[in-house]
Every structure is written in C-alpha cells, then in structure tokens.
Subunit: 202 residues, 2 copies
C-alpha cells in the first residue's frame, strides 16, 4: 500500500470522526439540524459528507451509535449489585441523565430511523437493566406476575415521558429522577407487598 | 339568502363530513395515507378537498377531533364513581380500547400536529381521568407524594407504550388492558400500602 493511500485513508477517518462528532452535537441541540449545518460544524464540505454518508439517516445513525457508546461507558460504571431496589435507583439516576441529554438526538433518530434500529442501538443498556430486573425478580424484590419485557417497557416509557414533560414545561428537571424512581419502584413491587417509601423524598 | 347559496352550503357541509370521515378511516388504517387517497375515499376531487382544508395538518386535525369526540362519548358512559381502584380499572378498560383503535390516527397526528394541539384535543378525556385521580388521592387510595400531572402522564405513557409493544409484536393485545391496569394501580399506590392483587389475573 502506498503512503499516499494511507494518508488518504487517515484523512477519511478524520473527516468521518469530525462529522459524527459534529452530528451528535448539532442534533443534540436541534433534531432538525441540516446536513449543511453538520458539515460546516465538522469543518468539511457537503461533498465530503456525502462521500462518507449516503443519507441523513446514516448520519443520524452514526451520531446515535456514538451517543449510546458513550452512554454504555457511563452505565458500565454503575454498580448494579446488592439490593435490587437501590441498584435500580442508581441505574435510573445515571440512565435518566443520559436520556435527558440525548433527548434531541433521540427525537432526530425517531424521525429518521426505524423503531427496530433504535431498539437495536439500545441493546447494550437494555441487556444490563434486564439482568438487574431478572435478578430482582429471582430475589422476590420485583413482581413476576408481569413479563420482564413489559417491566422494561414500563421503565423506558416512564423515563422517556419525563423528557417530554420537561420539554413541555410541566416537570422540573431536578425532580425527574426521583419521580421516575418512585413510579418505577412502585410499578415493579409484587402484589401484596407495600410500595417502598421514596428515599430521597420524591 | 338565495336557495342556491343554501344548497351550495349544504353541499359543502356534506363534502367536509365525507372528507373527515374518510380521513379518520384511511389514517386509522395507515398514518401515511395520502390526501389523494382520502379524497378518493370521500368521493370528492382533490380540488374540493383543498377548498375546505388548507393542508394535510388540517385534515389530520379534523379526523383526530372526530375520533376524540367519539371517544369522549364512550368514556362518558363509563361509571367513574365508587372505589377509585375499580373506577380506574374501568377507565383503563374503555380508554385502552380507544387508544388501541386510534393508534394509526395518533401516529399521523404526532407527525403533523404540534404536541400542544394533541394534548388540547385530549383535554376532555384528560379532565375526566384527572377528576378520578384527584378523588382517589383525597380518599387515600392513590399516592399524593407525586404531583397529579405526573400520575396522569404515567397513565398515558403506559397506555401509549402498550400500543407500541403490540405493534412491535412483543405484547398480546388481549393482555394489554390487564398489564396496564396492574402497572398503573401499583404506580398509583401510596408508599407503605401493599400493591393491589390483580383482579382479572394480569
């Protein structure tokens, strides 16, 4: 391989990296950010952008993948051992901030990407929380009369609805994590068991 | 006023009625149904449709308003008196079927209309369920440590997430109402009070 083609390839990788980073930033501020805007923020021309990405959907996909990789790193640092209720509370505390930060990017993704692809990109965090919920069920902390997939759906639906409530001005962002935690812990409590008292004061 | 203009006005009302009905049906099957398709189903030309509706958004708005008027009639027939838990269960049973039936129409509305307008259209059902939740809180059946607006949000988020789970093939439609009820009753239970046993078998 000539050093010329190596240089060209290094240039391409640098452009791609700059475009993905710019896309994550621009779409994170505004889900309607245009490809021209993203190219400008990346310091490349539209032609270069189109040389690497066939469509707006591909750019959004790459930005979303990047945000989820970062999110996975954060979530991997969360201790999910010990009391399942406390572990779920820690997961929501960390996961909620990621959902909140990524809300504009997710809005862009929901417009551009099929729901199946968005779910696929979330597979990493989903697997970790699923393992936690399964353990909580095995230990009797979480209800087993509803399917685990439904419980995960409830967790995600409540987290995402909180971002919409904030955007609509109906929820103080500082209260979001405690509201989500109080709601999800109650929803996961087995029938006949008392709903846990909120720890931080919901 | 001449009888000619009266006839013209009657014709216009008939066309509008036919367009709104066709829009509710077409968009209820397929949120991407085109205005040409809707005009054809209504038995009018595109020119007539555009004479009465300035945009696709106006057609979707009219179809959504119509569906919600029908839904309101159904919900008005639901008995929301007596034990708040049983009343909420009856509300979910009826409301859930409406959400399920209107899911494609709602998807069209979410693409075309601002979130504020969709919320405004839901004001009727929202007011009834809010009164029920407020009564349940006053009677000690539902938690008061979370704001009422948050509890209503949770109810709506869980109902809407169920339609998505069904669409994705992860939830049996026959189980939806019992899953939603079991989840929402638990989420609404005051801290320290046992989660109610599912009645119909969740």
């Amino acid at each position: 391989m000539s050093s010329k083609s190596t240089t060209k390839r290094a240039d391409a990788l640098r452009s791609i990296e700059a475009i993905v980073q710019a896309a994550a930033e621009c779409l994170g501020r505004n889900p309607d950010a245009s490809l021209s805007e993203i190219a400008r923020a990346a310091g490349v021309g539209r032609v270069t952008l189109y040389a690497h990405f066939a469509s707006r959907a591909e750019v959004v996909d790459a930005a979303m993948s990047r945000a989820l990789d970062r999110g996975n790193e954060v979530l991997n640092a969360v201790d999910l051992t010990g009391d399942p209720l406390l572990a779920l509370e820690r997961y929501i505390d960390a996961g909620w901030h990621l959902v909140d930060q990524a809300q504009a990017l997710l809005a862009a993704a929901q417009r551009e990407l099929p729901a199946g692809r968005i779910r696929e990109l979330h597979a990493g965090p989903a697997a970790r929380v699923e393992a936690l919920v399964a353990r909580g069920r095995a230990e009797g902390a979480f209800r087993t009369d509803l399917p685990i997939a439904w419980l995960i759906n409830v967790l995600q639906a409540v987290m995402h609805s909180a971002t919409e409530e904030i955007r609509a001005g109906r929820l103080n962002p500082e209260r979001a994590a405690s509201h989500i935690t109080a709601t999800v812990l109650a929803a996961f409590t087995p029938p006949g068991i008392p709903v846990p008292e909120p720890r931080g004061g919901a």
